[in-house]
Amino acid sequence: MSTIKPLLSVRNLTKRFGPGCEDCESLTGPTQNRNQCPTCKTILGCGEVSFDLYPNEVLGIVGESGSGKTTLLRALHFDFEVTSGEMFFSYLSENNELTDLIKQIQDVNLFTTTNYVKRKVRNFLTGIIYQNPLMGINLNISAGGNIAEKMLMAEWRNLQTIRNRSKYLFQKTEMPLERIDQSPKDFSGGMQQRVQISKALASNPVLLFLDEVTTGLDLSVQAGVLDLIRNIQREFRFSMIVISHDFGVIRLLTERCMVMKNGKVIEHGLTDQILEDPVHPYTQLLVSSQL
């Protein structure tokens, strides 16, 4: 029996916003139907989340607003300290420049490691695409500059290489090359989102986080952006975690997904199974609420 090692393993990830007390555990979550502890007013962002993500795999996370999807993703991107939990990254690369980093993070719980290592993992191995392009890109510098920034953070040093890669990604994301030196301030929402995608992909990440990337775009642009992401993932074969409240997006991009409610994972499975045979009452409600 052959088993592939997961790229990312997350165990019992919990994030609480607030002091926390002994009642938190029992008074929050889907069974209580709330995520604020009535005793100490602490908010449960996400609780006891565990999963494995494999190379070249796309995992979906669905749930309503406030279910903890984004908190989970941000925690994985080290945007804040977690309350408890473990995260392991195991990756084999032919890229010699990454050998040291990969050795350094082997069998190490990344949540408890130094900020230096976290930053390296974030810059070298991952990329993130936020719902709001303004969170991912800087409007005061050019589109090309934004894309270059990610490469600089991953310690790329050759300006020509950086420039060429920015151009390549601009074309890959179906953007007009003559606008590469303009500020994304003057771009449409769909174009800004494409710049963000280029930026996230710039340093060849092995893991990409997508946070509601198409919410707020009109339908035809949504379709364009999703097709683009889907094609790029197939071509470059990185792993993705896709967050959405829209089962259409989940169906389009993922083969496996988890359903969250009040900070907890209430159901997980193959995407076609979740859509056709949802077991948890809340998942049934979500699936039946599709337009």
Partner: protein, 231 residues
């Protein structure tokens, strides 16, 4: 026996629906059968008797509520498919087991050609070869060449169904699940599909299918499993 590829034991599918209020019903209970390598196994029975649900359980689109499905995988050995890790199920789905749904269910905006080539590309066959083979398969199924670049969602019922079949058989899966693949086909297309299925069987694939056409069942199946309606 050595040549059993699928062993279904005491299988039950129970649905618990919570909307608008809690309701429980059984699709089927107590299903037992063995499937031998290389045979054509038909499932027959009245509408609503649970045939499609059974097929969906075999493909893991439905979660089984009781019983086991022992499947002999060339990659993982004998596994209980109902409890197998999701990652392995996906692997088996793209390398060993294929499923033709009753209705074509694909992502919009992707051409028929690319949809049919996709399972080959997933198996690391070079894009050019995959596209060539997809063209061949679509032509064999009488899909007009000028439709190749359009999304099958714009096709007629029969054409949709043929694209659906093309997608499932093009990569020669060792186990093929068919849910009324010929329901919306005319006689000529049915004949072509029949021929393709018979060829697959000859090359060693195992097929399990739901058909309503009695004549077709008699012509192609080795064994028929009769479903009764749950009372």
């Amino acid at each position: 026996m050595n040549n059993i590829i699928l062993q279904v034991e005491n299988l039950e599918k129970k649905f618990e629906l919570y909307l608008p209020e809690k309701k429980v019903f059984f699709a089927f209970q107590n299903i037992n059968f063995n499937l031998y390598q290389g045979e054509f196994f038909s499932i027959s029975g009245p509408s609503g008797s649970g045939k499609s649900s059974l097929l969906k359980c075999l493909y893991r689109t439905y979660k089984t509520t009781k019983g086991s499905i022992f499947y002999r995988s060339s990659r993982y050995g004998i596994v209980d498919f109902t409890k197998l890790q999701e990652q392995s199920v996906l692997n088996i789905r793209s390398n060993e087991m294929s499923y033709v749904s009753q209705f074509l269910n694909v992502i919009p905006r992707i051409s028929a050609l690319n949809l049919v080539a996709e399972p080959l590309i997933r198996k690391n066959i070079p894009q050019g070869i995959a596209i060539e083979r997809a063209k061949e398969m679509l032509s064999r199924l009488n899909i007009p060449t000028n439709l190749f670049d359009s999304s099958p969602l714009t096709f007629s019922g029969g054409e949709k169904q043929r694209v659906n079949i093309a997608r499932a058989v093009i990569w020669n899966p060792s186990l093929l699940l068919l849910d009324e693949p010929t329901a919306s086909l005319d006689e000529k297309s049915e004949k072509i599909v029949k021929k393709i299925l018979v060829t697959m069987k000859k090359s060693g694939s195992t097929l399990i299918g739901i058909f309503h056409n009695k004549k077709l069942i008699n012509q192609i199946s080795d064994r028929v499993f009769l479903f009764r309606k749950e009372e």
